[in-house]
Homo-oligomer: 298 residues x 2
Amino acid sequence: MLKVPEHQVAGHQAGNGRLGPLVDDSGFFYKPLQSGDRGSHEVAFYTSFFSNARIPDHISKFFPKFHGTQLLEASDGSGLLPHLVLEDLTLGRANPSIMDIKIGSRTWPPQESEDYINKCLQKDRETSSITLGFRLSGLQVYGSKETGYWKPGRKSVQNLSAAEIRSILKKFVSSNTLDGMDLKPDCSFASTVYGGSNGILSQLLDLKAWFEDQTIFHFYSCSILMMFDKELALQENSPGAVIKLIDFAHVVEGGGVIDHNFLGGLCSLIKFISEILTTPDEHINEVSSNDAKNSVPA
Amino acid sequence: MLKVPEHQVAGHQAGNGRLGPLVDDSGFFYKPLQSGDRGSHEVAFYTSFFSNARIPDHISKFFPKFHGTQLLEASDGSGLLPHLVLEDLTLGRANPSIMDIKIGSRTWPPQESEDYINKCLQKDRETSSITLGFRLSGLQVYGSKETGYWKPGRKSVQNLSAAEIRSILKKFVSSNTLDGMDLKPDCSFASTVYGGSNGILSQLLDLKAWFEDQTIFHFYSCSILMMFDKELALQENSPGAVIKLIDFAHVVEGGGVIDHNFLGGLCSLIKFISEILTTPDEHINEVSSNDAKNSVPA
């Protein structure tokens, strides 16, 4: 039984006659191959990545498991379409809080067409990609059974200032995010979600160490998904915090050079998260004065 | 007695009626303030940098000492012009080998004019900035009293491939660089110039650690100068290898964000240099096949 994923925060979404990914009950995520050569490009990346003996296990675990491709009835009713068969990353999570962060100040590979480069460059400049080295593509933060999720409009989170991204990264790990825009985020999950030897910061640092060395792939327009589950945190004292890389339609060969574009953006994100852990109160004034503009819980 | 610097490898050069920096015998380097607001911008940076208590000594040592500004007869005979009074970085070096590397895949601050951004972007794409995260602006490698210096044309070194930059970084620390284009660089100075606790790699790693943390400045279009002196190496068993940052006409405030653009390019350079130390022979075939194009000793 194929259905529309419950917890997608970015990208094309199925439903109402639109084309988008589907999931089933056995933990698979079916992503329709993108048009042009982007779809085949993404298949080629997954194939190449998972057959590359130089990728260590502690890095490949950050990527969705890949189970080939499959022809499926497309979600927009347009007939049979090839789909990537991937791991459903939210499987087993009751109420995942999710953030999709597109990494890199530049989302275009140098060898792309002028039209494509100009389109991407304009978007990079209109959003926070150029300034922060990454942009938020979407997020959802779970509050409680009563309040449900905070899921701000995607457009509203793409061009955040440093103060605003700091605020959202705090709200992501706070228990009072949906209680009111004037409240200071309590960051009550910061130490278990971001911190600790299994936390998100530690995983980002593992990824960073690999990016300082690997010259196999350059990941343009690829996202880091950060996820955890508040209910898991309360039940099991472990929030199931993980990072995953997704969206590989614009990965190109590294050619013996590190991916300095992805690495720079990753280091910028790491700095924001480590600041929350080390000096959570440092930017309070800055945050509250700039906060009302974009990052108001809906 | 003001004179034209002997060892300038990049930037505007004085002489023959052209405007450029001058040096004197007491160790000062006089750089004419650049036109527009670039000159005053660079003065403002030096002033701000050296009065900032948050810059640790082990970082400020990477910057030329600053002694204010002074009105001097310009080298092009155009009359009195304000000059930055800086430390002459090559003072006391008999035959310095020097490499000027402009760091960052992007040389334009986001707040610049469209015209300026388009000009820079075009240059970044035409050179190795976009692909490698840095570009060579110029270099000189000392051979011996007989052979003198190898100083390739500046245009010829700005758009190097990964294989070519690897080759040049090897030639920079080889004793046989000027002996013939077919010779494999012997890298005989690699372990003392790049390696060791005082070597260039160690200094670059110190700089990297600072860039992972500092959010005060963003260094657009700034260069790292790598220098050493073969004669010092032979006399004193220490080549006097140092890195210095130069050219701050396009530094802007960091605004609470790390300089992910500079950091990415710096990490790319670090990867090339550490590869030479750890696996000097790995890319030999690749280097010799691509080598003849741009990086031929003159």
